[in-house]
């Protein structure tokens, strides 16, 4: 067993997978605190599907899937925010519309593409083991930037998540916080696609925060526990995937779900 673990850590592609995975896992877990507190789980799903539409467009045009996916996801996130802020259409309805449109465009673009589209599966289900050395700095840089931004605005986002009206009355830039959170969410979804794919990225952006919220009522501890759960999920999931020769994306999500289940059952016993 120890031999196999040693072998795993000596492989270049596994080293890149662990480094990229830990950065993405920690950032998603930090963001998941606000996704859970602000009840934005459905937004996350909408933005993830939008990224798929963007990736399909990139495949059709032969462009970089990451950049086109990110642009598509950011544009969709801003569209969801703009429509729901006008209050004539509620946020969930707005997401439902844009999610379906982004998926429809994705299917349309793929239909127009001549030849194989198999490399799209990497974005749908994740391909963390195939992170190239040149991709790692981009992944680490983007997640580090998101992490620092969340840390810089942590108290404002906390107030915004608790009571938007009072945050506005107290002079906080509520609209900027809302749209900023949407953009950060979109960028994080695109960066995380490489890890678990658009289908499973919502797990990384929801489960760590939901797990930690079952354990503590202290906001600082909530962030720490959520990030710890995200990193533990990635490390244990990747290790399990290597040892058992299973899909890393699915393995990470199932480990995260295991952590959630344990905290759910123990929290139920405490109450």
């Amino acid at each position: 067993m120890l031999d196999r673990l040693g072998e795993m850590l000596s492989l270049g592609f596994m080293q890149r997978a662990f480094l990229g995975g830990i950065m993405v896992g920690a950032t998603c877990a930090f963001l998941s605190v606000f996704v859970v507190l602000r009840r934005m789980a459905f937004v996350t799903q909408g933005v993830g599907h939008a990224a798929f539409g963007g990736v399909a467009l990139a495949v059709l045009l032969g462009l970089s899937p990451s950049w086109v996916g990110a642009s598509f996801a950011v544009a969709t996130a801003l569209a969801i925010g703009t429509v729901s802020r006008r209050r004539r259409v509620t946020e969930d309805v707005s997401i439902g519309i844009f999610l379906a449109v982004a998926m429809a465009l994705g299917i349309l673009f793929l239909g127009l593409k001549k030849g194989s589209t198999t490399n799209l599966f990497g974005y749908l289900f994740g391909s963390i083991l195939s992170i190239l050395p040149g991709e790692l700095p981009w992944m680490v840089g983007a997640t580090a930037l998101v992490f620092v931004l969340l840390l810089a605005f942590v108290k404002e986002l906390y107030f915004f998540a608790f009571d938007e009206e009072m945050a506005r009355v107290n002079g906080l830039p509520v609209d900027a916080l809302y749209f900023g959170l949407l953009v950060v969410l979109a960028v994080t979804v695109v960066v995380s696609m490489k890890l678990v794919g658009v289908i499973l990225v919502t797990a990384l952006l929801i489960i760590p925060g939901a797990t930690a919220k079952l354990i503590t009522t202290n906001f600082g501890a909530l962030i720490t526990l959520s990030v710890a759960a995200g990193v533990a999920g990635v490390v244990a999931g990747l290790t399990g995937a290597y040892l058992l020769d299973i899909s890393p994306g699915a393995s990470i999500v199932l480990v995260l779900f295991g952590l959630f289940l344990v905290s759910f059952l123990t929290a139920g016993r405490r109450t």
Binding site: L37, A152, F153, K155, E156, Y158, F159, A161, F162, D163, E165, M166, A167, R168, V169, N170, G171, L172, K213, T216, T217, N218, F219, A221, L222
Partner: protein, 245 residues
């Protein structure tokens, strides 16, 4: 006495409907004033205008000598919103909720300092909640939660405190206790208090002056001058809503 609030000829229409019409009044320093009126009578909108969140179509508003829309988050106004159904499992203790009231003053990219924490404890002490500082907000009773929200409004040491239905969802005992708290706060400081409520008898019994609002102002004066016909007229459907023959 200098006016803390000056409202002159304020009007607002939304979606082709009158929300406020020619509303004018002044509130002097150190007054405790109650606003009563029916649902949809413009009470909350009036508060939003005073807070600078909503801009009126007509008229002039001065709060503490300034246009409330110019204050940019550093206005010396404390606000307690209508009670709402927040997530009872939200990870916030009473002292965390009060600290949020400091965030506008602390500013971006800065974290609360020791003096901000001291102000939180002092604000909780003012509302009799110091011993509950570490309790999760969701585990407190309705009356205790309202005290915490009042402490949140007071933590920035405002000169004006505005409350929207502070006794809604609070039992009778808690209601009396909250009103006593507001009277004590006014007596012990230079605070001016403006409070909206559905509870006519409570407002009549405990405020210095009353405003009766149903899109336009039907009465302004001390409780002794408020007669039953004025109340009936205030709560009567506004002419714009009356059924047409």
């Amino acid at each position: 006495m200098p006016a803390v609030i000056e409202v002159d000829g304020v009007g607002l229409r939304r979606d082709g409907r009158t929300v406020l019409q020619e509303v004018s009044f002044r509130i002097a320093e150190h007054e405790l004033v109650g606003v009563i009126g029916p649902n949809g009578g413009g009470k909350t909108t009036l508060l939003q205008i005073l807070l600078g969140v909503t801009r009126p179509d007509a008229g002039r508003v001065r709060v503490l000598g300034r246009d409330p829309r110019d204050a940019n988050g550093r206005r010396p106004i404390g606000y307690v919103a209508q009670a709402k159904n927040f997530d009872r499992g939200f990870p916030a203790r009473a002292k965390d909720v009060v600290m949020m009231g400091n965030f506008g003053q602390i500013g971006l990219f800065r974290f609360p300092a020791a003096r901000d924490k001291a102000r939180v404890i002092a604000a909780l002490a003012r509302v009799g909640m110091r011993d509950r500082a570490d309790r999760p907000i969701g585990k407190l009773s309705g009356g205790e939660q309202q005290r915490v929200f009042i402490a949140q409004a007071l933590v920035s040491e405002p000169r004006l405190l505005i409350l929207d239905e502070p006794t809604a969802g609070v039992d009778r005992e808690g209601e009396e206790s909250l009103i006593r708290l507001l009277q004590e706060l006014k007596a012990r400081s230079e605070l001016t208090i403006l409070m909206v409520s559905h509870n006519v008898s409570l407002i009549r019994a405990h405020t210095d002056r009353i405003l009766c609002l149903n899109r336009e102002l039907y009465f302004t004066g001390p409780a002794e001058g408020l007669t039953d016909p004025i109340i009936t007229q205030t709560y009567h459907p506004h002419p714009e809503d009356a059924p047409r023959a």
